[in-house]
């Protein structure tokens, strides 16, 4: 779990690598350098090059064309819709994630392992299948289709369906980040707050939330990145009506199919920027946590 504090072995390994000792168990230089070269070459060809290419292609016709393709009404609508969907899905998943992590980390109840498994379900289901499930539930031929139509509500091929699909796909992120942090923190600080006269809400706000702050932020960042970047599930439920139910990823595909390469890459570059931002925050948070943990360890000794 990336958000969890590093284990003792991690720290020992880190210290060992700093020491640069030539141990008996270390591989000969030839193997070491071959492996390093392969890993580096892979990263450059499959990760770095495409990323650079996105920006190169996006800017291939100049800054003006870049700005124009982003402000073009249909692309602009896609950008706004993406932000709207994320703005609804992420807070809802934060609420759910905190509630789920809290109940799993702090309470004992029957079906706890079932809940833990269920939270992970979206990770193991193909997003396209997830989208189809919603079509089968809320589509015209679906279980609730007749009822929805009778009440003049549109879920599939409309924004509500896209929000639902996005929530489903990004369901695990916040909870998965919070559970280990909350489990590690334990119950005692909260019980201490109660004995000091704090109400449940005061305890949550002043004690629980600050202690899981970094895990929560990390979960939100990941959840947001996925919410904005989701393609498969949203593709199935959106019906891709241009200018109405197109999110950024769908818009990229559409522009590309219409041979508007530069415009497609311009929209794609926004998603790439989001990815870089997410990575930056993630690295920063991990560094912060490792530091706090190491500090606590040193003082604890």
């Amino acid at each position: 779990m990336a958000g969890a504090p590093p284990t003792d072995t991690d720290l020992i390994r880190r210290r060992a690598s700093r020491a640069q000792s030539q141990r008996g168990t270390e591989e000969p230089p030839l193997i070491k350098w071959t492996l390093l070269t392969i890993a580096l070459a892979f990263s450059v060809v499959f990760l770095l090059l495409p990323l650079v290419n996105v920006f190169a292609q996006a800017l291939s016709k100049g800054l003006n064309a870049y700005a124009n393709s982003l402000t073009e009404p249909d692309s602009w609508a896609a950008i706004r819709l993406t932000l709207t969907v994320a703005a609804i899905a992420v807070p809802l998943n934060v609420l759910f994630g905190v509630a789920a992590a809290w109940s799993i980390a702090k309470f004992e109840f029957r079906g706890k392992s079932l809940l833990t498994t269920l939270i992970d379900l979206p990770f193991s289901v193909s997003p396209v299948v997830a989208g189809l499930m919603f079509v089968l539930l809320f589509g015209l031929q679906g279980y609730f289709g007749k009822w929805l139509e009778g009440h003049n509500l549109k879920v599939i091929f409309a924004v509500p369906g896209m929000v639902l699909a996005t929530i489903f796909v990004t369901f695990p992120f916040v909870a998965r980040e919070l559970i280990p942090v909350m489990q590690a923190t334990g119950l005692e600080q909260e019980q201490a707050a109660l004995t000091l006269g704090a109400s449940g809400w005061q305890t949550f706000w002043h004690v629980t939330l600050p202690s899981v702050k970094w895990g929560l932020i990390y979960g939100v960042i990941l959840c947001n990145a996925r919410a904005m970047g989701e393609f498969g599930a949203v593709y199935v439920v959106s019906g891709h009506i241009i200018g109405q139910t197109d999110t950024m990823p769908l818009r990229v595909e559409q522009l590309y199919n219409q041979y508007q390469g530069a415009a497609a890459f311009a929209v794609a570059s926004l998603l790439a920027l989001l990815a870089l931002f997410t990575l930056g925050v993630k690295t920063c948070l991990e560094w912060k946590q490792a530091r706090a943990y190491e500090l606590a360890q040193r003082v604890g000794q």
Partner: protein
């Protein structure tokens, strides 16, 4: 009377953690709950705090039944074993927390926290975070935090468990001094009998969820109510004797039968200091080989092996040891001056039997 427990039991599922426990704590008392781990003492403490609810029985604080009061309403200070300091708050904010949630005025909070920081010698550390403090400092912060809202009772769960042996002694003395100064009713849990003896006014001894004895350190040491207490508090030689021909004996050792008929068994115990040793083989009745000497500082503990192989622990000053010219492997004579008839756990003995007895001259003197 500050706190009273009446027939309190606690079950977790099918496991009885505390069975039918009753005792009371006096105002301003420093009381220890002592017992091996799993004895139920921490559960009792948590029930007084309201962190656990009793399955049966009532708990009274200053005459008021508190069973239905929430943790927040009970006005107790609780210090957790690992202190449970708020790791995202500095020392000042940790201590101020209980006042802040009770909506004290800012100036009053400032004054109260400053007062506590001074009392606990933490003035320099108010800006530090818990991970920047030593174990002893953390404990002081935890106690200051618990005392800040002026609780009626202070409860401490294994207060010296998380610090190393060197500063443990210091902290014990500090807790006694603090209790003298504040005079707040204090209950602490410990598994260390020495700690309980040294720090507390009275000790409540638990074993497997049962209250075995309550009394002053001296009472539980000199008049243990049963075998468990006798073994748990200090060192005790415990022997199981067979009664035959009007005397109770084990191998070569003989004791009065205390009116038990032949064929019955009698359990007795004696402290190592009740064993008198002489290098003069004619001085006392029994013979033994001095097998091993343990150096404990001013006192020495020696292990005696009787001809039958029975081992007995004795204790003497090092002057006495030198005067008698004792050494490992040497043959000595000894006698047992005093012993106690012990009840097995749960067993009741007549009060005139379950006391300390001096060994009759006829049995103790040399031949």
């Amino acid at each position: 009377m500050s706190i009273e427990l009446k027939n309190v039991s606690k079950r977790f599922g099918n496991v009885a953690a505390v069975s039918n426990v009753s005792f009371s704590v006096n105002e301003g008392e420093l009381l220890a709950l002592l017992g091996p781990s799993g004895g139920g003492k921490t559960t009792v403490l948590r029930m007084i705090a309201g962190l656990e609810l009793p399955s049966e029985g009532d708990i009274f604080v200053r005459g008021r039944r508190v069973n239905d009061l929430s943790v927040q309403q009970r006005n107790i200070g609780f210090v957790f074993q690992n202190y449970a300091l708020f790791k995202t708050m500095n020392v000042f904010k940790n201590i101020a927390f209980g006042l802040k949630v009770k909506k004290w005025k800012r100036a009053d909070i400032q004054a109260r926290v400053s007062e506590l920081l001074e009392l606990f010698g933490l003035e320099e550390l108010e800006k530090r975070y818990p991970h920047q403090l030593s174990g002893g400092q953390r404990q002081r912060v935890a106690i200051a935090r618990a005392l800040a809202p002026k609780p009626g009772v202070l409860l401490l769960d294994e207060p010296f468990g998380a610090v190393d042996a060197k500063i443990r002694q210091e902290l014990r003395e500090w807790l006694v001094t603090l209790h003298h100064e504040l005079n707040v009713t204090t209950i602490f849990v410990t598994h260390d009998q020495e700690e309980a003896m040294e720090v507390s006014n009275r000790i409540v001894i638990f074993s497997r969820g049962n209250l075995e004895q309550i009394g002053t350190p001296r009472e539980v040491y000199e008049q243990p109510s049963n075998e468990f207490v006798a073994r748990f508090i200090g060192v005790m030689n415990v022997l199981e004797l067979d009664v035959c021909k009007g005397v109770a004996c084990l191998n070569e050792l003989e004791f009065p039968s205390h009116g038990l008929p032949d064929g019955q068994r009698l359990r007795i115990g004696f402290r190592p200091y009740a064993v008198q040793i002489s290098s003069d083989l004619k001085a006392y009745r029994y013979r033994a080989i001095l097998r091993h000497t343990y150096f404990l500082g001013v006192m020495l503990r020696v292990e005696l092996e009787l001809p039958s192989g029975l081992l007995i622990r004795a204790r003497m000053t090092k002057e006495e040891y030198a005067f008698q010219a004792l050494a490992d492997g040497k043959e000595v004579s000894f006698q047992i001056r005093q012993y106690r008839v012990l009840a097995r756990e749960g067993e009741k003995l007549p009060p005139e039997v379950a006391v300390t007895h001096d060994v009759p001259v006829a049995l103790g003197e040399g031949i």
